[in-house]
Structures are given as C-alpha cells and as structure tokens.
C-alpha cells in the first residue's frame, strides 16, 4: 500500500513540477487581457475572430514550454490518459457551447429572444462569472493544478461582487488577469531560479 502511495506521489510530483513554471497562468492572463482590450477599445470585430486569441495563446504556451520549461526541467511525456482527458474536456466544452448557441439562435429566430436568454443577458456579470469559473474548474481538473481552482473561486467572488457594484466589465477582467499574471510571473521567477538552464548534454 505504501508503495502505491509513493508511486502516486512520484507521479504527482513529476506532473506538478512540470506545471510550476507559471506558463499556464501567464497564458490564461494573456487570453483575459485580449478580451479586456477588445471591450476597452470597443473593437468587437476582434471578438468575432476570437479563435485568433486561442491560437495565439496556444503558440505562447507551446513556445514557453519549449524555450523555458524543457531546457530547465527536461523533456517528459506523460501517459496518454492525461492528454485524452484534456481533449475530452475541450471537446465537451466545444459541443456544449455549440449546442447552447444553436438552441439560443433557433429560439430567437422562431419566437424572439427566449426568457432564459434575457435572464442570462440581464445578469451578465453572474453569467460570465459562472462561465469563466466553470472553465477554470475544468482547466484545474484537466491540468490537475489546484491553484486554477483558486482562480475559479476568485472569478466567482469578483463577478458576483460586480453584479452588485457596477464597474465596466473590462475593469473586472483586467483585475482578474492582473492577479493571475502576477501569480504566473511569481511562479516563473521561482521556477527559473530553482532550475537554472542546463547546457550540458548527455548521451547514454
């Protein structure tokens, strides 16, 4: 039993050390800032090509992992189950969004804006807050990273407060992104100090 616990601990340590570089936090903050800028600058046409922010964030994440993380902590490939879990979460999210969007569109075209959509729009701070918190929860589950659950809680608290205390939405997004960015930068600095870059190469 003890051995089982130790193996789990080894696996947990291997996985978390790979995600203690702050890259995921900085990527999340980057995406939040993009949405914040879109709202601040009233450049909603950028929102229609929101896929670009997703693409850019993937590039940022992959690039940072390649040039910052791997040279310091080494290369590791985790079992496929983890990748499958992340893919399953992404697919489930995509399908859910698509179904919700389609239902809303069909109902709006057939009989005007449905009541449930009006309710969601009227309470947009609660709607957005819950959606973003749910996204964080899923990301926390997929990456097995506890601090992302804390981001979910922080988002929920911030947006519920925003429902009662009015400030433009981008204020809240900027505040949220700033806190997450600060956490990411702190983790990155700690990671870089803890794991200096290794130039030595070894062949077995």
């Amino acid at each position: 039993m003890n051995q089982k616990i130790n193996l789990k601990e080894i696996e947990r340590k291997a996985y978390t050390s790979y995600h203690q570089d702050g890259v995921i936090d900085i990527t999340i903050a980057f995406v939040i800032f993009i949405f914040s800028v879109i709202m601040l600058g009233d450049i909603y046409w950028l929102g229609s090509i929101g896929g670009i922010s997703g693409f850019l964030s993937l590039l940022l994440y992959a690039g940072a992992k390649k040039f910052l993380t791997v040279p310091r902590i080494g290369y590791v490939k985790f079992p496929q189950q983890r990748a499958q879990r992340i893919t399953a979460v992404a697919v489930a999210l995509g399908v859910l969004s698509f179904v919700a969007g389609t239902v809303a569109l069909i109902q709006t075209m057939a009989q005007g804006t449905p009541d449930w959509l009006v309710l969601l729009i009227e309470n947009y701070m609660l709607t957005i807050g819950t959606a973003v918190a749910a996204l964080f929860m899923l990301a926390g589950y997929a990456f097995k990273t506890k601090r992302i659950y804390a981001y979910a809680l922080m988002t929920l608290v911030m947006f519920v407060a925003g429902h009662f205390i009015y400030f433009p939405l981008y204020y809240y997004l900027t505040a949220l992104g700033s806190v997450i960015l600060a956490c990411g930068l702190f983790l990155m600095i700690r990671f870089v100090r803890k794991y200096p870059k290794v130039t030595e190469t070894v062949d077995a």
Partner: protein
Amino acid sequence: MNSSKTSDDELNAIQNINKIIHEPARLLLMAHLFVVESADFLFLQRQTGLTWGNISSHLRKLENAGYVAVEKEFIDKKPHTTLKLTDKGRKAFKEYRKSMKQVFEDLPE
C-alpha cells in the same frame, strides 16, 4: 515441518526479489519511468537528484537487462536521448512491487 516450509517460502520470496531493480538508485529511476511514458536525462536528474554519471551507469544496467529503451534523436540539431520502460521493464517492476509487498506482509509485527 509446517513451520520449516513457511520459512523456506519466505526465504524463496526474498531470494526471488529482482536484484537489478532492488538497488536504490535503479529503483528510483524505474519508479520515475514507470509513472511517465518517456523522459530524458535532465528530467530524471531533476526528479531524482542523482548525478549525470550515476544515472548514466544505472541506466546502462537497466538497458542491458532489457528494462529501459534508449532512443536517440536530434532536436534542433542537438542530440537528445529519450528513455522509456520497455514492456519487459514494466512487467518486471510490477512483479518487483508484488514480491516486495508479499515479503513485508509476511513479516511478523
């Protein structure tokens, strides 16, 4: 008679422990490779705290036993060595865990 048979079984169980895996540094390397699909030298060094030389010599023994597969490739024109447990290595590690568990479970309190 019965007691003698039991002690013989216990001795057999201890003698059957895989000595290649039983060495602490190799056990550490095997355990780390068991929980991932593949990793490189640097990752193993960071995780285990062993030196390059130590890792290299122990991995050679594990490779000679057929427990670890070493794949060499070039990434960005630099040589890169990736290590992974073979099926034989995974099976041996599982058996090692089982036999160790058995040995300790059979010991009196």
